[in-house]
């Protein structure tokens, strides 16, 4: 095996203090990037979670709708028009809107109602851990998420509360259906949701369209657009993208997370570059000796790149451990940090890139080295 990796390893571990400083720099940077990216992914998932779980090929939405939580209304007549279009198998109404939850102790807390037909296509609660989703067909039945037990002062199936002065009973409990706004999602039948949110019986927030088997979704979408000129018809992917773009970029939240990640990268690059440069300067005599005994520039660059890669690997491993601790610590919070396998791979590539880019200054320094300096030192 070539001695270049060994020399790089020894150079790196020869000065433990500098190595620690380098690794801390990398870890700090990568953890910062991980957290920001993790929040970004988590936020993106959360803002589209309802769209992702809805049983729909196409969404008929009020014109100008920016995101799922946009509480505008459509008329039922649009649904019947939609049903007359070839290729449409069903068009399930969905009602969303804010309401007030009165806790058993008499307090009030805002909630976000989601009502669909429990017997048909729509948006049913998922991850039900207690009770049954189809129990929402029972008048007054609601489903809540266990992460909001404290807010709603309700902890088990069968308990009663009030929404807008109407008595409700919790008949299903879900796990992990959280809102990034921290306002609890509460599921009910569409009729009850209309009642709780003050929506007229002939109105709905969305119509969730299923196309007939074999029908071309895009063609059906275009037909619906032609048939329903006062609404917008979007595929699930289009609505998802619109919703995500609104929250991520329309509100500036995504930019803030992205900027945080960039800041982490810049800080990390500067720290690693500084330590690699200083390490190279300290070993300049050795690099000059290498040059004097006939080493090519490429060989010396290889040593420095190996140093950078070793630093990256050590830093990444430690940052990964810390990252997973952060993931576990935030798992039950309103906005958990999410790390996906793809993100882990991307972070590894990013760490390596960052460290290699950081080595450029050191390489430039060593490229200008005068081998004759070995005679004067």
């Amino acid at each position: 095996m070539s001695l270049a990796p060994k020399l790089a390893f020894r150079n790196l571990f020869h000065d433990r203090l500098r190595l620690i400083a380098t690794v801390i720099g990398i870890v700090f940077s990568i953890v910062l990037v991980t957290v920001q990216m993790g929040l970004y992914v988590s936020f993106e998932r959360m803002v589209t979670v309802m769209i992702d779980h809805a049983d729909a090929d196409l969404w008929i939405v009020p014109r100008g709708t920016k995101c799922f939580e946009d509480p505008s209304l459509l008329d039922e007549r649009e649904r019947f028009r939609a049903l007359s279009v070839a290729g449409v198998a069903s068009a399930a109404p969905l009602v969303i809107g804010f309401a007030q939850w009165r806790t058993p102790s008499g307090g009030n807390t805002p909630i976000f109602m989601i009502g669909s037909d429990p017997r048909g296509a729509g948006l049913e609660p998922w991850n039900v851990v207690e009770g049954r989703a189809d129990a929402l067909a029972i008048p007054g039945a609601v489903a809540i998420d266990r992460s909001y037990f404290d807010r709603l002062e309700t902890t088990r199936v069968g308990e009663y509360a009030e929404i807008g002065d109407q008595r409700v009973q919790v008949l299903a409990i879900t796990n992990g259906i959280r809102s990034f706004t921290t306002t609890p999602y509460v599921f009910s039948s569409i009729e009850r949701a209309r009642a709780y949110t003050g929506t007229a019986a002939n109105k709905a927030s969305y119509f969730l369209v299923r196309v007939t088997p074999g029908a071309n979704v895009m063609q059906v979408r275009d037909s619906l657009r032609a048939r329903l000129p006062d609404t917008e018809v979007l595929t699930t992917a289009e609505f998802r993208e619109r919703s995500a773009n609104f929250w991520m970029f329309g509100t500036g939240a995504g930019f803030a997370l992205f900027a945080g990640a960039m800041l982490g990268l810049i800080v990390g690059t500067v720290i690693v570059a500084q330590t690699l440069y200083s390490s190279t300067k300290d070993h300049l005599n050795e690099f000059a000796t290498l040059r004097a005994i006939g080493s090519s520039g490429g060989y010396i660059h290889k040593v420095i790149i190996f140093q950078a890669l070793l630093s990256a690997l050590i830093g990444f491993c430690l940052a990964s451990v810390i990252g997973w601790i952060v993931v576990l610590a935030t798992a039950d919070t309103a906005l958990p940090v999410v790390i996906t396998p793809l993100m882990t791979a991307a972070l590894l590539v990013l760490t390596v890139l960052m460290c290699v880019v950081s080595a450029v200054a050191a390489i430039m320094k060593v490229t200008r080295i005068d081998p004759a300096m070995v005679f004067t030192r």
């Binding site: 095996m1 070539s2 001695l3 270049a4 060994k6 020399l7 020894r10 150079n11 020869h14 005599n285 050795e286 000796t289 290498l290 040059r291 004097a292 005994i293 006939g294 080493s295 090519s296 520039g297 060989y299 005068d370 081998p371 004759a372 070995v374 005679f375 004067t376 030192r377």
Partner: protein
Amino acid sequence: MTEPVIEAIDAVKFLGEGAGRVQALKGVSLAVGGGELTLLMGPSGSGKTTLLSILGCMLTPTSGTVRVGGRATADAGPEELAKIRRENIGFVFQSYHLFPTLNALDNVRLALDVRGENSHRAMQKSKEALARVGLALKMASYPSELSGGEQQRVAIARAIVSNPAILLADEPTAALDSENGHAIMEVLAEIAREQSRGVLVVTHDPRIVPFSDRIVSIEDGKIIGDKRPADGEARADKSGTAAAERTDKPSRKDRKRKP
């Protein structure tokens, strides 16, 4: 002298810039052949190290020609010069310049590694080189665990392991006591004698004169003397200093007669 392995012809070198610009070499010509140990002697600032750097392809002359193995180096860029160095020249430095984080064997192996030599073969050659300089039992030792003399032997092993045509040594005994200095010069003389390599040693040290085949004197950037000690005029023995004081002209033949 055999065909020159390395030569400078009318080499001129200016160092520094502006008001600090000085002429370190003023038209120096020097050729070193294989199988002889040449001493380059002169006071500080005489241009010894500049000449050594130019002959070693680390500096390029302002004017004049340098040839290594018959090839002119004038148009060579830094990478080409590095290639000439690794294929033709071995270096021994005053302060050894060993890598403190590598053991003796790896320090020697490094000279072959930069040539891209096969790892197994490089290991074998490095062991042989270390054995040749008497360090067969110290291969695993780190520089900090070796005496100055031993470190210089490792440096010599590193210089000869790639089988260069010429060895350039810069004050190889300056940091050593007389016993170790003597031992190092014996090794260098042996390399010149037995392996027919050219060895050029820059030195201030009169104690090593008895080991030379040729003494070149330089002063103010000019060569002022170039002599070959005549046979029988001196002998290098264990107390080479005394011999050197009697005369500065020991011969290689004399050294061969040494017990």
